[in-house]
Point group: C2
Chain length 356, copies 2
Amino acid sequence: MHESARGRKSKLSVNKPPTLADVARLAGVSVPTASRALNGGVRGKDSGSPELRLRVLDAADALGYAVNPAAQTTKGGRARTVALLVSDIEDFGSATIISGVMHAAEKRGVSVAVRTTLDDPLREIKLLSALRGERHRAVVIATARTTDAHREQALEAQLRTLDEHGTRVVIVGDSDLDFPAVTVDNHESSRLLADALARSGKRRFAILAAPPIEITSRDRVHGFLQGLAEHDIAVPESNVVHQAFSRDGGYAAIDELGDRIRELDVIAAMSDAMAVGAIARLRELGIESPRDLEVTGFDHVPMLGDVLPRFSTVEVPLEAFGEAALSLALDEGLSDPSARIALYGTPIVHGEPIVR
Amino acid sequence: MHESARGRKSKLSVNKPPTLADVARLAGVSVPTASRALNGGVRGKDSGSPELRLRVLDAADALGYAVNPAAQTTKGGRARTVALLVSDIEDFGSATIISGVMHAAEKRGVSVAVRTTLDDPLREIKLLSALRGERHRAVVIATARTTDAHREQALEAQLRTLDEHGTRVVIVGDSDLDFPAVTVDNHESSRLLADALARSGKRRFAILAAPPIEITSRDRVHGFLQGLAEHDIAVPESNVVHQAFSRDGGYAAIDELGDRIRELDVIAAMSDAMAVGAIARLRELGIESPRDLEVTGFDHVPMLGDVLPRFSTVEVPLEAFGEAALSLALDEGLSDPSARIALYGTPIVHGEPIVR
DNA sequence: CCCTTTAAGGATAGCGTTATCCGACTGCAA
DNA sequence: TTGCAGTCGGATAACGCTATCCTTAAAGGG
């Protein structure tokens, strides 16, 4: 029957990976014993006689055995896995958070399943629904949180279910959701950035922000405005422009500002990505950033520090976000919904970090 | 015992996610029938009476059922999953390839497991060994390939085993490994870049490259040198500097060049990351890139095009890499080890793409 | 009206693990 | 010698799912 399949050389035949049963057979022990030998044994501390243990290890090695995590999950009801939800891997911030989570995950021997929502709330819900079936140890939500009550409630319902099913939930960023969260002081570090800019003599500002429902952007705007207000600087309503929180949004925002650009000292973008888009559009209009007016950002994409030497921004410890999130996700005693890990941004003004 | 755990509201109790058995019970059918109803049925085309099918779907919906992929994998012996090996997610190239693979994977209903090797060959082998147990449909290798025979053979052995066990193997980039691969014409597009630079009057070049064993960098260097040779331009051996293929490598390379910098028209970095590091170091030395000499790159990080307007580089279709790799990994008829998908780079000289 | 074909849903088995239970053996004190 | 606690390895079961087989019933032809 399978004669034809295993016909010629062994190259074409699809033989199966070795299973624990193969290892056990080779070592001359039972399957559960082989399992105990490989896993260090749940029984007290030991796992059978050392001699036998060695025989199993040798057999596993000889066969090139690798445990099948799917079977482990089926049996144990829980995967050694953390799911991570981001909007888009290509986004700098997401990529850095992913990196942080993965580094921390490796140390703990869990692997990370990255899923992208592409900023689609519906897709986000569907993904979370699918995650329910995957029995992850935890889910880390690192997508943008909003003030849209309807949307957040739908999200919360999904997360609540996951939590009840034993998958820990962690939120990255500020939100009203009642789950453990990692936050950064967007408001305060933005205020400090504005303060420093005001001190350096800047007076006329425009702000490039995400749509008002995005909490991160909103907090940064508020902090920035407050920092300016402390220097008696007001920003006209029309100088606060809301566009997509991306390179293209920054580009479009410049056009929305129109002629008001000529009367500005600073265009403060609430993300580095927006700042880059703004710089690109300004250059097309013949306006150079540090020369004619100053464009500032937020996030601190390291590459920009190299090519825009006196660029001002706020360094957000995104890599640390990832590690903190995983700590909340996996460490016992931090499962309280009110658990918070607060991190701090570092304003960088004209290339120099501001030490607090 | 767990009285205290399930004490108060149901909030604290960990109930289990619904299984297919729960759905079947609610719908009043057997478990296999529920499975058939949900999966469209393998039997010919149908899956039971439409009335019953609807009942099952309703029940699943009511319970918020999501299939458990681990159980599916255990049963079927194969996961609906593709593993993707990169060196580092934070690296721009890797992030873009991941994005391409994920987008393509979503269309095909498979999910992607990203693993990072952190440029450690040992870790790479260990990871591949673990992947054997995970029964992925395919593995895409997007780490740097080298000319180190020992290292490549160890890799090939691992990949061969995976292949024999039914996990398709796809390589991203040039290599001597006998597996389906996605390639880009590094040599030719590098030659075209050099040609264009020579035509614009540049004569004195230095080259910043990765260590010679890295195939991608090597091909780009060769192409570049050939392009220059066609204009009777020779690059002294000492002007070809080998450092890490990263921002820091570019930075260090400038110091290695030392005083020879003063006599150069172009410093051609074989990656955008190296170019950025070089630009940073040059600025510290008081040398500005487009003004005093020209630094060029390779890869086309979009952000650089915005902030360095007349930057020269080669656009590598990394997103397309991902899609092509997934096509080789999943489409039947492309499993031949000699299958190749060849993609083309687009030189961008002083901000303008060169149309071939 | 009986036999045959087809369809449809249920029963069963098995994927690779590991937790739980059980039996056998060891060693030691009574 | 008997009794008993303590070890250690094997047998068994179960996780959730789907492929395979089997039973039952309905439909259709002679």
